[in-house]
Structure formats: structure tokens, C-alpha cells
Symmetry: C2
Subunit: 180 residues, 2 copies
């Protein structure tokens, strides 16, 4: 069981440590975890970003399962790179799991970042663009892709004290993956 | 040539009109454009968001090509739903094109929204998370996926006066798609 560990964890100051913790947890459930940072990349090379892409793509192709950390990142939604990878794995028909450490609805999170206007239940942001209001925690494409390609998004009842270091919901995904 | 028209255009106040303009442009290039909003969905139903997902997924499966509007949306990156769809189409090995009407680099855009600390060239945001700094306009996974699965991201030299209504870069994608 090869699991691709997608998430903005690679941007954390202790990214390598988080990667090791996730891989160790995978091992405990009989799985092999692949953490994107473990690819060999020459960060000084002029094509470093392309090397990272190719490394991640090769890792994804080797994996049967993705567990995506969809905790909101620099805005109301999940990290774009992680969302791309979730879509890529779903497109390949692979088993998809995801978690977010922020249980707030997309509407509530957007409201924190921007003024929202309510016109008979139709919500818009300050630019006049519709705010998806289905009570989901993020964009419906990701949320329902998880329902269909694996298991519904895992969210804690309350956000953990440390949104980026807490792996409780990650482990819940792992348990689900191991039970398949 | 069936083209899936991915983008946060569906959230615009004149979404239906933008969709019609995109579909009409497709026709001019001999292609059939599929705009997500054209799916029949009962918005009053309790499973409306799931109906939208299934409609979009069926549309994507019918299309050979995606043109994704990756103009930044509520933060420094593209709309999560659009990014998921781009990944999904790439995962299916389909031809991928994308454009962004904001030519700024990801670093410059992030700097506008958050303080950035530079420690010997390693950039971090106010939460201490690394800011990707490869001179790209958005997360490397999307940018290089376009290189590999279709054609490099199209960006205007300067942002158009109206970031959401200008279809110049969309049409440039369409020309590329038609030339394949």
C-alpha cells in the first residue's frame, strides 16, 4: 500500500520532521508513505521547480492512494498544489482521502477574510463574486470528489491548538485507507 | 473538439453571459465549449452541491481538452475548484491549457496579502511557512502540469483593466487548442 502524502506540510519550517512523522505513522498501519520532500532535487539548478514537479508526479504514479492535507492555506481554501494533486489522483481513479484541521464552513472562513453581502440567501464577496454556500468546508469539487473516490473529508470537531502539527485527522484518514 | 471551460467565471454576477461568450468563441474555432453552469441542477435540492459535482464530472469526461481560468481567486492562488479540475483532466491524460489575467509572480502577490520575511533568499510568510520562490505566477504543480500536458500558462504582459471580463488570454488558449 503506497500512499502519497500531499499537503502544504512541505512549506512548514519543520517540513522534514512532519514528513518523517507521517511516514512513521503509515508504517504503523502497514503502508509505505511517500513524502514529496523526499525527492532528490537540485534546488540550485535553473529548472529546480520542474525537477520538483517531475519528482512529485513520479511519486504519485507509484502510489495507489493519496491522503491530502486540505487545511486552508493563505486564504479560505486548501493549498493549490495539494488540490491539483488530489485532482490528479482522482483523475487516475486512485483512492482519495483528505482532512482539514479547520472545521469551519467555507462561508464562515470567507467571511473572516472579506465582507460578505447576503441578498435573499445569495452570498457575494466584496468583488461581487458568489460565495458557495452549501454548508461545506471548502469548494464542492474537492469535497464531493473525496466522497466518490474514497471517503468523506475528515475534520475534527474543533480545530486543534496547532493547525499544522496535529496529525489526529491525518491518522484517521490512514485508518480508513488501511481498512480498504 | 470538446473543451471543458473551467474557472471561477461561474461565480461572476454575469456568469451565464461569460459562459455564452466563451462558448461562442469556441464555436469560432471549430470547437464545442462546455460551461459548467449549463448543467441542469436543482439548486433547491438537499444534494444540490453533489448534483453540481456529478454534472461537472460528466462534462469533464465528455471533453478532450480543458481551458482553465487560473486568475487568482480570494487569495494568492487560483480557485480551488478550477485547480482540482485541471488536476483531474491532467490525471486523465487530457490536453490542458490555462491562463491567468494577473501576470504578477506568486511571491509579489503573496507579499501584497501578507508580510514576507527573507532569510538568505528563503522566503516565509507571517506564519513561518515557506513562500515558493521560483519566479512562477502560481504553485509549481499547476504551472508545470500545463507545460507537460498542453502548453505553458498564458498571461498578458499587463493585467487587463477588468480581470474577470477580459477574454484575450482565454482566446489565446483557444487558438493553441485549435492548432493541436
Amino acid at each position: 500500500m503506497n500512499i502519497y502524502l500531499a499537503g502544504p506540510d512541505v512549506f512548514l519550517p519543520n517540513a522534514a520532521e512532519i514528513g518523517r512523522r507521517k511516514v512513521a505513522l503509515c508504517k504503523r498501519y502497514g503502508a509505505h508513505g511517500f513524502f514529496p520532500l523526499d525527492n532528490e532535487v537540485d534546488l540550485q539548478a535553473s529548472d529546480a521547480s520542474r525537477q520538483i514537479f517531475h519528482g512529485n508526479e513520479a511519486m504519485m504514479n507509484r502510489c495507489d492512494i493519496v491522503i491530502a492535507n486540505l487545511t486552508p492555506f493563505r486564504g479560505p481554501s486548501a493549498d493549490a498544489g495539494t488540490v491539483f494533486e488530489l485532482g490528479f489522483m482522482a483523475g487516475h481513479g486512485k483512492l482519495c482521502f483528505g482532512y482539514s484541521n479547520d472545521p469551519a464552513s467555507y462561508v464562515d472562513r470567507t467571511r473572516r477574510l472579506s465582507e460578505i453581502t447576503d441578498s435573499n440567501g445569495h452570498l457575494t464577496d466584496r468583488d461581487g463574486l458568489t460565495v458557495e454556500n452549501f454548508g461545506l468546508t471548502d469548494n464542492l469539487m474537492m469535497i464531493h470528489a473525496l466522497d466518490l473516490y474514497g471517503s468523506p473529508l475528515i475534520v475534527p470537531r474543533e480545530a486543534p491548538a496547532d493547525l499544522w502539527q496535529d496529525l489526529t485527522s491525518f491518522e484517521a484518514c490512514l485508518k480508513l485507507a488501511a481498512s480498504y
